[in-house]
């Protein structure tokens, strides 16, 4: 940095005002332990809730259910009380957070509330056998909390609970591991969920409401759509509909990613689209004589890879065409 400054100053490319600004900034730059503090707090919350849970589990006979429920409920209520008392007023746009600790207390409150409800349900069957309700109510609460207090983490939690209410796991690791995608119902649920999320995102975008949440919705919708359509193509007998569905979904995502200049979403659309197109190609090759199939497949891989590289490069440049540097 110092070298660069010196050279540019000598060449006269940076005027004195800019140089002094840079020198001042470099001198006053601070060493940030922000993410270290955040990690400490995250780990702390994890360990405390795990230890607390284990402690209760091991001593459940001596403590008594009612006492536990009351304690958890009070703690959760306390967290929410603190958050409501210290919160900034509701805003249609991205709201600032009153502080790092605030976000964690909100998160802790939500987690404790889920535990509270879950405990009530398990011990007292408060929702009876309506298991759906036991998931739906916390999901709603989480979503309301996320919107009111503008917390992206709580939103993601609420959405995953909402999806699980529909019988689906949508968190990254679980998406492929725990779902039985050969079940027709799951595929349709996934596709429907993708549509719902897209609709919500579109509504929010149109009304310019909490735009910082829109990306989360689109992100989940994209992967849900991609995987559900692919599963539909590979597994179901009705696979013939899923091919154009995948095509439409990925094309829409592609257009959206170009509009929003999100390279990540572009990659996602190309990724799932490539799989679908590859499947079609292999299906076609399976009815061809072997010699043609093998050489054509090689040619396809090489050709499509080369084309993709060039396309990615071109798109990247077009996204950053107006960057000065």
């Amino acid at each position: 940095m110092k070298q660069t400054l010196h050279i540019l100053e000598q060449e006269g490319l940076l005027d004195d005002a800019a140089c002094s600004r840079i020198r001042e900034d470099e001198a006053s730059r601070l060493f940030s332990v922000h993410w270290h503090v955040k990690t400490l707090l995250y780990l702390g919350v994890t360990l405390v809730s795990a230890g607390f849970g284990l402690l209760i589990y091991k001593n459940i006979d001596t403590i008594g259910h009612l006492a536990i429920v009351i304690v958890i409920g009070l703690l959760s209520g306390g967290c929410f009380f603190y958050c409501i008392k210290n919160s900034y007023p509701f805003s249609r746009l991205k709201a600032a957070s009153p502080g790092i600790g605030y976000d964690y207390i909100l998160l802790l409150g939500c987690l404790l509330f889920i535990t509270f409800l879950g405990y009530l349900q398990w011990q007292y069957l408060i929702f009876g056998f309506r298991y759906g309700l036991a998931t739906f109510i916390p999901a709603c609460l989480l979503l309301v909390t996320a919107y009111r207090f503008d917390h992206l983490g709580v939103l993601t939690l609420g959405l995953t609970l909402f999806a699980s209410w529909l019988g689906l796991s949508i968190t990254p690791l679980e998406l492929l591991r725990y779902n039985d995608f050969s079940s027709e119902r799951i595929i349709y649920t996934g596709a429907m969920l993708a549509l719902i999320f897209t609709a919500v995102a579109w509504l929010q975008h149109r009304e310019n409401f909490k735009m910082n949440f829109v990306f989360t919705y689109i992100h989940f919708a994209a992967h849900l759509a991609g995987i559900s359509c692919l599963a539909g193509i590979f597994q179901l007998n009705t696979s013939i509909i899923w091919i154009p569905l995948l095509g439409m979904a990925m094309y829409a995502l592609h257009r959206y990613s170009k509009h929003e200049k999100s390279f990540y979403l572009l990659l996602v659309s190309l990724f799932y689209g490539y799989f679908g197109a590859g499947y079609l190609f292999v299906k076609l090759m399976s009815v061809m004589p072997e010699v043609i199939a093998v050489y054509a497949s090689f040619a396809l891989f090489i050709g499509s890879s080369m084309w993709l590289i060039v396309y990615l490069k071109r798109t990247w440049k077009s996204f950053h065409r107006h960057d000065i540097i």
């Binding site: 490319l13 800019a18 332990v33 994890t46 939690l157 990254p172 080369m306 000065i324």
Partner: protein
């Protein structure tokens, strides 16, 4: 000594500094434009996502092409597959040279893929031709590959290969120590410590040389790795378990490895030193390693001395972390010693989706969804942050 164009590289580094200043609003746009104009031609650095995508695609192209080539040339190759591999690796390096010198690629994913695959093919061919499956197999592998990896790391200013070269060197020390018999095995921790210290000092001295500026990223990575290996070679758990495995020594109950006290002290003190140095010299690498190894040392001690039941340890540990975090925030309300807890650069939301949010959902979200007809309530298990117990 690099294959890349030094002028373009130097210009890239200047432009990156200017970009950082511009992002912070320190330089007006017209001066930025003038600087950009004056600093052409310059390499352009590719985004990591793009690089990964292109890397994968290039690898696909590489192996598909060689697939076709092998199919066509099969009768010719027959038994001489080793020579074919060698020739193949040379062709790959030839293509790499072309892309770097004539097509201006710089860490674009294409040159990365060609480099790694070419090196892999070359080393494989070399080993197939000259290595034997005897007791010295690993030793020969490391000795014969290390020079090439090091050469490639320097020629192509590659961080991964630098770390790989360091790893190779450490393996070399390890294998040679083992070959020295029981004396070597006894001294192993100290030999490894010495090796990593030696690398640390060599790397820091090279870094001070003006001409090594382009390789500073590589050297920084190697320095970090040497710090890590230094701690790990003296960590009590590692030393104890390794001596059990390597020397077939059974530790009698109540007994201990030789110099146990030294290793205990080492395990506890070194992370604290790293943390202190990290804060003092404002180096993230040292600080992060220190914190990580501090946790490791707690786990190490706990592994051999259970002082309290698990859930109490979790609770106390969690409360300690929370109070530590709170104390740091409180202490640094006004920045002290040039340290602050506020965010300095916007590193968090590079993809638009806060990675943080995904981590929260992953660790705290609902678990496996059970099939219909289960006795659990609808959503599955709700872990209180991974408690794993059902309420």
């Amino acid at each position: 000594m690099t294959l890349y164009n030094r002028v373009k590289l130097a210009n890239l580094l200047v432009l990156e500094d200017v970009k950082a200043w511009y992002r912070r609003g320190l330089v007006p746009a017209d001066q930025v434009a003038a600087i950009v104009n004056s600093r052409q031609p310059a390499y352009k650095r590719s985004h990591v996502l793009y690089r990964i995508g292109v890397f994968l695609l290039t690898t696909i192209i590489l192996y598909s092409s060689s697939g076709i080539l092998v199919l066509i040339l099969e009768p010719l190759i027959d038994d001489e597959y080793k020579l074919f591999l060698l020739a193949g690796s040379c062709i790959v390096f030839g293509i790499l040279y072309h892309f770097i010198r004539h097509k201006d690629h710089f860490k674009s994913g294409v040159d990365d893929a060609l480099l790694y695959n070419g090196l892999f093919l070359f080393i494989t061919a070399f080993q197939l031709m000259f290595n034997h499956l005897d007791e010295d197999f690993l030793l020969f592998l490391v000795i014969s590959s290390l020079p090439f990896i090091l050469l490639a790391a320097v020629l192509f200013i590659d961080r991964l290969l630098s770390v790989a070269a360091f790893a190779g060197f450490i393996c070399l020390v390890f294998l040679l120590a083992l070959k020295a018999g029981d004396a070597g095995k006894m001294l192993l921790p100290f030999l490894m410590m010495a090796a990593s210290v030696a690398v640390y000092f060599v790397a820091t001295s090279i870094r001070k040389i003006e001409n090594s500026y382009f390789w500073s990223g590589c050297l920084d990575h190697v320095i970090l790795c040497s710090l890590a290996v230094f701690y790990l070679s003296g960590n009590y758990y590692v030393v104890r378990e390794a001596s059990v495995v390597l020397m077939n020594a059974e530790i009698p109950a109540g007994g201990d490895i030789p110099f146990a006290i030294f290793f205990y002290a080492f395990t506890i003190i070194v992370p604290l030193v790293y943390i202190y140095l990290g804060l003092r010299k404002k180096l993230y690498g040292s600080l992060n390693l220190g914190l990580l190894f501090f946790a490791a040392s707690i786990l190490t001690i706990r592994h051999y001395h259970h002082m309290m039941p698990f859930e109490t340890a979790l609770l106390l540990g969690g409360m300690f972390l929370l109070s530590a975090g709170w104390w740091v925030m409180h202490y640094l309300r006004t920045p002290k010693y040039g340290i602050t807890y506020e965010e300095q650069e916007d590193l968090g939301e590079t993809l638009g989706l806060s990675a943080e949010a995904l981590v929260i959902a992953q660790s705290f979200g609902p678990g496996q969804v059970k099939p219909q007809g289960s006795t659990e309530f609808g959503g599955g298990e709700f872990g209180g942050g991974g408690a794993g117990s059902k309420y």
